[in-house]
């Protein structure tokens, strides 16, 4: 008994240290699930309210900028509309049928919480399941890609920011449609890296990079950014630094993209996969 007490006296602190570290590492490694987000949310309620107030206040200061952004977007959309109608009248076989086969629905959302200084950044949006948002939906902003929804609550949802080491997206050079895989390397808030573009493809500074739409989440042709620099990395592929068009530090208005045909696409793809396995 005395030796046990002596042992505890001598190593008690180490044991306590190991126990507390074990609890912390356990908390760290369990997948962040909805309940955990909820708990954090409840405990954090006062801070969130304060945060929203602060956001509300700071919104006023950037009103001008947001207005300008919206005006620009409006013009772009009007131009696109013009193009659609023109194709319809000139080449009927290429008509875009916007009524009977709508593929995407855009839900407008506001960013209520956002970070860019971590390695795994997340964005909280003020819309959730009630507005039809669920997991694995793309989030885009007026200037380009933003992220992917990973958790949806009733009124709020959490999206993985493109500035997250775990974020992957297939993107292409818009001039020749060669595509590769896009990821963030955790350093620069304005730069992502595009890999898997072979050496024989011509790449130039300033080339536009956009999404491919091969995944069932992101629509095709959403702006990612422009080529800032590139070098012939190891192997047969370029490492291309892409200057992001979205300013992640001042995200405010974003759109969640609901793909109406997502389940269809995934179902068919899975069918093929299981058939191949046989």
């Amino acid at each position: 008994m005395i030796s046990l007490l002596n042992f505890l006296k001598k190593y008690g602190n180490v044991l306590l240290f190991l126990l507390l570290e074990a609890i912390a590492i356990y908390l760290l490694t369990v997948k962040p699930d909805y309940h955990k987000i909820q708990i954090t949310r409840i405990v954090n309620a006062s801070a969130s309210v304060l945060q929203e107030r602060l956001n509300l206040a700071s919104d006023y200061f950037v009103l001008n900028e947001i207005n300008q952004q919206l005006r620009k977007e409006n013009t772009e959309l009007k131009n696109r509309l013009e193009r659609v109608y023109n194709t319809e009248s000139l080449q009927t076989f290429e008509a875009t049928d916007s009524i009977y086969r709508q593929k995407y629905v855009y839900v407008q959302a506001r960013v209520v919480n956002n970070s860019v200084n971590k390695q795994k950044n997340y964005i909280t949006l003020d819309k959730g399941k009630l507005e039809g948002i669920s997991e694995d939906m793309a989030v885009i902003g007026p200037d380009g890609i933003v992220g992917l929804v990973v958790e949806a609550g009733k009124n709020y949802s959490v999206a993985m920011s493109a500035l997250n080491l775990d974020f992957r997206l297939s993107a292409r050079l818009s001039k020749n449609n060669y595509f590769g895989s896009l990821k963030w390397e955790g350093v620069d808030v304005n730069t992502m890296v595009l890999n898997e573009i072979p050496h024989h493809v011509s790449v130039e500074q300033g080339d536009t990079v956009e999404t491919t739409g091969y995944s069932a989440y992101f629509p095709e042709g959403v702006m990612v950014g422009t080529v800032k620099a590139f070098n012939e990395g190891g192997g047969d592929f370029y490492d291309i630094d892409v200057e992001l068009s979205t300013g992640f530090e001042k995200l405010n208005n974003v759109y969640v993209v609901i793909n109406l045909e997502k389940n269809d696409q995934i179902e068919v793809e899975q069918k093929i996969n299981t058939e191949q396995r046989r």
Partner: protein
């Protein structure tokens, strides 16, 4: 005793507010992430038992985690910092040891003692924190650079906060 508890509770709340409302909003780059809340662990009295430091570290980390949505991350790093505190104190102890009743601070043992104390613990804490956050070895040197630059800012802010608040 009661006075001390009140004093440290106040310190805790002030540091938490500074961390969550100011420091966490420095969205400048991955290289500037100061975590000044460890000042709470640094300023605990010398004669406080090690197990209590560990429990305080755990609680501090957990509160920070909950308010910044990173469950476990800060807890692990702060417990590590709290665990290393007695060793660091022993390592940099002045010639005639610490006097009972003294509190860690610039005034008690001079600026040089205080700055080495903060630098060592901040580096240990940030080292654990940033490597746990990345959780892979791909970015080893980049993470090391982040540890060092963020530690620099933390130390700077800690000195400012110490000068502004703690005296009262």
């Amino acid at each position: 005793m009661l006075n001390d508890i009140l004093k440290y509770t106040g310190l805790f709340i002030v540091l938490l507010a500074i961390q969550v409302l100011l420091m966490n909003n420095i969205q400048f780059s991955g290289y500037v992430n100061p975590y000044v809340y460890i000042l709470f662990i640094l300023l605990l009295p010398f004669e406080i038992p090690s197990w209590l430091v560990l429990l305080f570290s755990f609680a501090t980390g957990l509160v920070i985690d909950v308010s910044s949505g990173t469950l476990g991350l800060h807890t692990a790093a702060t417990v590590f910092a709290g665990f290393s505190r007695p060793w660091v104190l022993k390592l940099i102890a002045p010639h005639d040891g610490y006097e009972t009743g003294d509190l860690p601070g610039i005034k008690t043992y001079g600026f040089r003692w205080f700055i080495s104390y903060i630098i060592i613990i901040t580096l240990l804490h940030h080292f654990a924190l940033f490597y746990l956050e990345v959780f892979r070895f791909d970015y080893f040197f980049r993470t090391l650079l982040r540890v060092i630059s963020s530690s620099g800012f933390t130390v700077l802010f800690i000195i400012i906060i110490q000068a502004l608040i703690v005296r009262r």
